[in-house]
């Protein structure tokens, strides 16, 4: 028989202790224990890949000889400090690259996520891709959607296929966005690695305006975000909280890459999406969501594993921005939309 006084007394004690702990925890930095969710077994799968072929050329081409003392673009950086090319209009000759890549008989894969209301963007995406994306090559479009019946059956050129992949719809748009890495990784492991050699992961709410060709093919390809190519690295919207696995401290960072476009050899996409998904999981376990969802994780990954080729903002433009003189040709840009309405 516990008397009321004792009960009240101990409850008050408990409450006081809890309040003290709460106060202390609020003032100090919070530290999380690293904690990893169990890996799905596909992450331990070993994939067999076909040999990567080097570019071989059969030139019967007549073109102006490049001049060693005449740079093509003097207004922009065209090679990164780790000697990866940055693809701008004027830096490359599309004929040479075409003559190098056509004989390799490649199939290029494109992934795009059209979940929920985003299915409305698929038609324009596909139509513009048919006009501009990798003309003359075999292309597989992988549209990931939760409602396959709403994907329009577009008329495609010969050698190009449309495949819908059913995915689960998640609760919030951020979750959908971040789960892309896992979904792409799983898809590569199960399907794409057999069907394509190069894979591009693009946002579906965008449209092609100008040719996108084999100049974009490379081991690992990232695109420079249009909003941040003119600002110093301190202003990049990297994840700045050290509790996140996507943390990049001030003073570090090469470029700010956009999450809407990345690509490369299918085996590198597998590794890349796997490691991004692991860091996303780590954050999830710690209850943190990175500032720009998987784009922050993408940037973190590309800081330590630098891309072998960069695409200028021509390849990932935002039409709401005014076009500066450095951008001569916009190839791929966002569709104007009401964000609130579409993300609901």
């Amino acid at each position: 028989m516990i008397s009321r006084k004792v009960l009240v007394g101990s409850l008050v004690c408990l409450g006081a202790v809890a309040a003290v702990i709460w106060a202390l925890a609020g003032t100090r930095k919070v530290h999380y224990l690293p904690y990893y969710l169990p890996c799905p077994e596909i992450f331990s799968m070993k994939l067999q890949y076909t040999e990567e072929k080097l570019i071989q050329l059969f030139p019967q081409l007549f073109y102006q000889q490049p001049r060693v003392l005449a740079p093509k673009r003097q207004d922009v950086l065209t090679v990164t400090p780790w000697l990866a090319p940055i693809v701008w209009e004027g830096t490359f000759n599309p004929e040479i690259l075409d003559s190098a890549y056509r004989p390799l008989n490649l199939t290029i894969g494109v992934t795009a996520f059209a979940v929920g209301k985003y299915t409305r963007f698929v038609r324009r995406f596909l139509e513009s891709a048919e006009r501009h994306f990798m003309r003359g090559y075999r292309v597989n479009y992988y549209i990931f959607t939760d409602s396959p019946e709403s994907i329009p059956r577009a008329q495609l050129r010969p050698g190009r296929r449309l495949l819908t992949v059913p995915v689960q719809r998640h609760s919030s748009w951020q979750e959908i966005s971040m789960r892309r890495m896992e979904t792409i990784n799983r898809h590569v492991a199960e399907v794409s690695h057999r069907e394509v050699q190069y894979l591009f992961c693009l946002d579906v709410d965008m449209v092609f305006h100008n040719p996108w060709g084999p100049e974009t093919l490379g081991d690992t390809v990232a695109a420079i975000h249009p909003g941040y190519f003119q600002v110093p690295r301190e202003q990049f919207p990297y994840e700045r909280r050290s509790s996140s696995a996507a943390f990049i401290p001030k003073g570090e960072g090469d470029f700010y890459y956009g999450g809407a476009v990345f690509g490369g050899l299918v085996k590198n996409i597998y590794e890349f999406t796997k490691s991004c998904h692991m860091t996303i999981l780590a954050d999830k376990a710690n209850g943190v969501m990175a500032a720009w969802q998987e784009e922050s994780h993408l940037n973190r990954h590309f800081l330590t594993h630098k891309p072998s080729k960069l695409l200028s903002p021509e390849y990932i433009w935002d039409d709401r921005k005014p076009k500066p003189p450095e951008i001569r040709l916009i190839r791929f840009s966002t569709v104007d939309k009401n964000y609130k309405e579409v993300r609901n």
Partner: protein, 349 residues
């Protein structure tokens, strides 16, 4: 009332809960966790880079071409950060090899070995593991050469009973057969360098790529736009007018062992066929190298800094990394057509 058992129980309970909470939320400063999401080897690249802000609107070299039309980088001083490249190279645990020929009968190349080895040990991929393969017909004449601790020297004897013109042509043959039998198991990347050179500045991991060639110096110094490609049409190395991106020097080229194997095989086959047809393309192997590289474009080009063989110093050349050493002209074969003179001085250290 006094402290009863129930009081004690209540205090114990409170203490227990407090202890449990403390255990799960350790907020003492000693448990500070550094960001460690990336794997261990990735931390090499987390270092702050020393270079200035990489601005996309500010190319470092505005006076020269830094990217070929097929998007292969051209390596000039100021276009790369060696720290980043070193970190990437170390991540992959690579071994690089250098092949060079020092054959007595022709032009007394043996005298150059010491200078070459000394400067190469100092400047060629300094700090990384390099295998030097020295083909020579007089292995006994090579005095004890001091090698850097991370480098190895392999002296491989070859026969010297050939005409002087044959040495460069059989070079390709020798390299390809040794790649097949030996080098492919020992190195990942292989570079062929003339022995009569001195390295004067760092040549580092910026040269490591699948197929790498050096642009000839006279692409900058010559007034004429055209290359002097072989205009002997029957020769296998004849390249039609109007074609040809750059002229590449045969004094310094290389790449991954598989690519160098394909290159040397193709060149030696072409040279063999030429010889059977009675054509000796003068400047032999360089012509065939250029023809091969026209059909199989290099994945990375080295600017003429990497093999500078004239006395001129144009402003575009900020660093001279490798220069040929003065040759004794009396030893040259009588019927040479020397459009590109080989006599010059290189500043000796």
């Amino acid at each position: 009332m006094g402290i009863t058992k129930v009081h004690g129980l209540a205090i114990l309970l409170t203490a227990g809960i407090t202890g449990a909470i403390w255990y799960h939320h350790p907020f003492s400063p000693a448990r500070d966790r550094e960001h460690a999401a990336s794997p261990a080897e990735g931390s090499v690249l987390c270092r702050k880079t020393d270079l200035d802000e990489t601005s996309l609107l500010l190319p470092w070299r505005q006076d020269v071409l830094v990217l070929t039309p097929w998007l292969a980088p051209i390596v000039w001083e100021g276009t790369f950060n060696r720290d980043i490249l070193n970190a990437q190279y170390l991540q992959k645990n690579l071994v690089t090899g250098v092949v060079t020929f020092a054959v007595e009968k022709s032009l007394r190349y043996v005298q150059f070995i010491e200078g070459f080895m000394r400067s190469a040990n100092k400047y060629f991929l300094a700090g990384h593991h390099v295998n030097f393969y020295l083909f020579t017909d007089s292995p006994k004449k090579i005095s004890h050469l001091q090698m850097a601790p991370e480098n190895h020297l392999f002296v491989i004897p070859v026969q010297n009973d050939r005409r002087w013109q044959d040495i460069p042509t059989s070079r390709m043959d020798i390299i390809s057969s040794y790649i097949h039998s030996q080098f492919q198991y020992e190195v990942d990347y292989l570079y062929s360098v003339d022995v009569d050179v001195q390295l004067l500045a760092d040549i580092g991991v910026e040269i490591i790529d699948a197929l790498v060639a050096t642009i000839s110096s006279w692409q900058i110094t010559s007034q004429i736009e055209n290359n002097d490609h072989e205009t002997h049409p029957e020769s296998q190395a004849a390249i039609p007018e109007g074609h040809g991106d750059f002229h590449y020097s045969a004094s310094f080229y290389g790449g991954s062992v598989s690519e160098v194997y394909k290159l040397t095989r193709a060149c030696s086959e072409g040279l063999m066929e030429d010889r059977e047809n009675g054509i000796e393309a003068w400047w032999h192997h360089e012509r065939h190298l250029n023809k091969y590289l026209l059909h199989h474009r290099p994945t990375r080009l080295l600017s003429p800094e990497y093999y500078w063989d004239t006395e001129l110093s144009p402003s575009s050349i900020q660093v001279k990394r490798m220069c040929p050493v003065r040759k004794d002209s009396s030893r040259q074969a009588p019927e040479t057509k020397n459009v590109k003179p080989l006599l010059f001085t290189a500043p000796l250290n």
